[in-house]
């Protein structure tokens, strides 16, 4: 795993770009503490920081072909790189290393952008073609690895994390009230959003071309639900689940360093740990967060699995104080507003993981989206069939929906039935499944002076998606999860941004394209969807303890506002003081203060989920403003050891270079 950064600016000489690109890399040094490297020429600079996983001695970047025409800065892992390498060798390619980096470069040289469809992995990369003076950026299909960019006139900057742009004084981090409204309502940034005006995110499954000052983007992997035929029967479906998951985990164990597993205590990560154990020749290490607060704690199930599989188990116990202490740093790494605090324990856990000597982990993310694990899917099924159900069935289904929420209990079922009645018809076109969530999200938009039109961006996104209308209500719900909560929070804020903050790479076997396509072919084909992830559970029934197989989905959460109310960290001044709130010009300061006061003074039982969420948004937006907009309390940027610095202007005489990059300098000088 690595971080990448670069600059395209035809008006600048190579010498002047070296410092800038190295300063950008220093800002993201945590992503690749094993080494840094860059290549510069007139008009372009490309760099990377490296977390050495495969062939650690040979993978210095940026990587070039023997002619130095192509330069690649690459972040990620292509799990099927050995198979692709064999294919490329059969076509005449010769390889110098055992790294997947070299496979990516050769795959691009042979197949061009078509290579992206062949990649099974998590990646983002930048590839510069000196002959055509073109830059290509690409990102994996599910958005596991990030890539951000900024365009200023003829200058173009890109990086794995936005904080790299802090090294470029001309780039401003002005928060965008319009995007914030969408984020507050939808819970996460949309695929191209960042929350900052000038900075864009390259959406998942896309590649970007910058050539002659023209920027284009294209998709190579649309999310489809019709690519695989339905298996004959349930047994065949279960066999396929085991087969695909086996293969997926086996591929994701390809590494020259130890691979551990994040164990939540639920069925998904237990399956991953089980299969990892099957393939491991050495004792497996597992890592978990435990909570002082029993409401969130799953340690007994984590210990059960750890003992059952005989793993070396490391648990990090999280207190309210830990949440308060680490929130500012975790928000800095997340870079975008957060609606809950559950990412903070993952920041603490990755630190522990790294200290235990493990820098690659597998985790269970992606299972709930693929195999219908979330209650949201059951809620969608219920509301879709509402008019056809008797009052008795409606009541019993409501009681089963969210058992961890007290207000869904038996005594309030009648009132809840009344609420659901109002949500039984589509009111937000195309967004039926998420209407309750987005409706609640609108409460958070009250933090803004101008609420704008918070659903406009997501409505545009689904309108511009071919075939979206043809999806079933549950498939639409899945599609929305794959474009919002999964990439915009679970894989990023709670996932790789937290793990890479301490140089730990995470891999997700449930995000294998073959696992996803199988899930789309079997969901709701052999059951009514009321028992979440039933087929997945049954596929592993005889391989895991019954308690885990039968365990109901336990949403991973952490103490939210209650932690801040109890310990009152100094930085709460950001959300309580008039002077501090006034620094954020787009904020409805009166509402923000009223909300913060309520959340921090009333008993936790009086605080609703949406108030908790809104408080976390307010706090994270304020912390982001302090770090990125005002550039206060920034950590010291440290460049990892320089392994490679290539100045193409200096190191090679022009006549020896078949592909000299001129940029537009000749016309300028």
């Amino acid at each position: 795993m690595c971080g990448i950064a670069g600059i395209i600016d035809p008006s600048r000489f190579a010498d002047t770009l070296v410092n800038d690109v190295q300063n950008m890399l220093a800002q993201i040094g945590h992503r690749g503490p094993d080494g840094a490297g860059c290549v510069v020429d007139n008009g372009f600079a490309l760099g990377s920081v490296r977390l050495a996983i495969l062939d650690p001695d040979a993978g210095q970047q940026p990587f070039s072909d023997p002619s130095n025409r192509y330069w690649l800065s690459y972040n990620g892992e292509i799990y099927n790189y050995l198979e692709l390498k064999s294919e490329l060798e059969a076509m005449g390619c010769r390889f110098q290393t055992n790294c997947d980096t070299e496979v990516v470069l050769n795959a691009w040289m042979i197949w061009g952008p078509d290579c992206l469809r062949r990649f099974n992995g998590c990646f983002s990369f930048a590839l510069y073609d000196c002959k055509t003076e073109s830059l290509y950026l690409a990102r994996d299909r599910f958005g596991k690895r990030p890539l951000f960019y900024v365009r200023q006139g003829n200058a173009f900057y890109f990086a794995s994390e936005m904080k790299a742009f802090l090294a470029i004084p001309s780039i401003s981090f002005e928060q965008d009230a319009g995007q914030l409204a969408s984020i507050l309502c939808v819970w996460t940034p949309l695929p191209d959003q960042t929350g900052f005006k000038e900075i864009k995110s390259l959406p998942m499954g896309q590649w970007l071309t910058l050539k002659n000052g023209e920027l284009t983007t294209e998709s190579y992997a649309e999310l489809r639900f019709d690519e695989e035929p339905q298996p004959d029967d349930e047994h065949a479906a279960q066999d396929l689940i085991r087969e695909r998951m086996n293969r997926s985990v086996e591929l994701r164990l390809r590494s020259d360093v130890e691979v551990g597993v994040y164990l939540s205590g639920g069925i998904d990560s237990s399956i991953v740990a089980l299969l990892a154990k099957d393939f491991s020749t050495k004792p497996l290490s597992t890592f978990s967060v435990e909570f002082d607060d029993a409401e969130f704690d799953e340690s007994s199930d984590q210990q059960l699995i750890s003992e059952y599989l005989g793993t070396r188990h490391c648990a990090e116990r999280i207190s309210y104080q830990d949440i308060c202490d680490q929130t500012p740093a975790a928000v800095y790494h997340a870079e975008v507003p957060a609606f809950r605090s559950a990412f903070v324990p993952m920041y603490i856990l990755s630190d522990r993981t790294r200290r235990e000597g493990v820098k690659v982990v597998l985790s269970g993310e992606g299972a709930d989206e693929a195999f219908l694990g979330y209650d949201l899917f059951k809620e969608t099924l219920l509301r879709t069939s509402w008019d056809q159900l008797s009052g008795e069935v409606r009541r019993s289904r409501i009681q089963e929906l969210y058992p961890h929420l007290a207000h869904y209990g038996p005594e309030d079922t009648a009132a809840m039935t009344g609420l659901y009645q109002q949500f039984s018809k589509e009111r937000m076109p195309g967004l039926f499944s998420h209407e309750l969530r987005f409706q609640n999200g609108q409460f958070s938009t009250r933090l803004l002076k101008d609420k704008n039109t918070p659903l406009a961006a997501i409505t545009d996104l689904i309108s511009s998606t071919p075939d979206y209308d043809a999806l079933s209500p549950v498939e639409k719900a899945q599609w929305l999860e794959y474009k919002t909560l999964l990439p915009g929070y679970l894989l990023s804020t709670q996932g790789e941004r937290m793990s890479l903050a301490h140089g730990v790479e995470n891999r997700c076997p449930f995000l294998d394209p073959d696992v996803f396509s199988l899930a789309t072919a079997i969901n709701l084909k052999f059951d009514d969807g009321l028992r979440e992830k039933r087929l997945l559970r049954e596929a592993f029934r005889n391989r895991l303890p019954d308690r885990i197989i039968e365990k109901r989905k336990f949403p991973y959460r952490a103490p939210d506002a209650a932690a801040f109310a109890k310990h009152r960290p100094d930085y709460l001044d950001l959300v309580l003081s008039d002077a501090e709130l006034a620094k954020l010009p787009f904020l409805n300061a009166a509402f923000a203060k009223r909300l913060a006061n309520k959340v921090l003074t009333k008993p936790a039982s009086d605080i609703s989920t949406k108030e908790n969420q809104t408080f976390l948004y307010l706090l994270s937006i304020s912390l982001l403003h302090r770090s990125f907009v005002r550039r206060e309390t920034l950590p010291l940027a440290t460049l990892p050891p320089l392994e490679k610095v290539i100045n193409l202007q200096r190191e090679t005489a022009a006549q020896e270079r078949p592909y000299l990059s001129h940029g537009n300098l000749s016309s300028l000088t």
Partner: protein, 82 residues
């Protein structure tokens, strides 16, 4: 009925005025969620010693302050008549 207004303003951090009239749909405006709705129903039933039927709660009568006040008044007068 002042106590209903006070409860909603206090619980949901809003103030009814020209920009946010009493007829505003509290769901559509993002003011009330499922948790808040349940809190409101519990409050009304306790405060006025009334009980809402499921039919009343499914008839979209509880979505704005004016509708809530109307419904509560009707139930109170019914109980007096009874």
């Amino acid at each position: 009925m002042q106590q209903i207004r006070d409860f909603i303003e206090d619980q949901f951090l809003i103030e009814f005025d020209e920009s946010f009239p009493e007829t505003s749909d509290l769901f559509k405006e993002g003011v009330m969620d499922s948790f808040g709705y349940i809190q409101l129903i519990r409050f009304l039933e306790k405060e006025f010693d009334i009980k809402f039927s499921e039919q009343e709660m499914t008839a979209n009568v509880m979505v704005s302050l004016s509708l809530i006040e109307k419904t509560v008044s009707r139930k109170l007068s019914e109980s007096i008549t009874d």
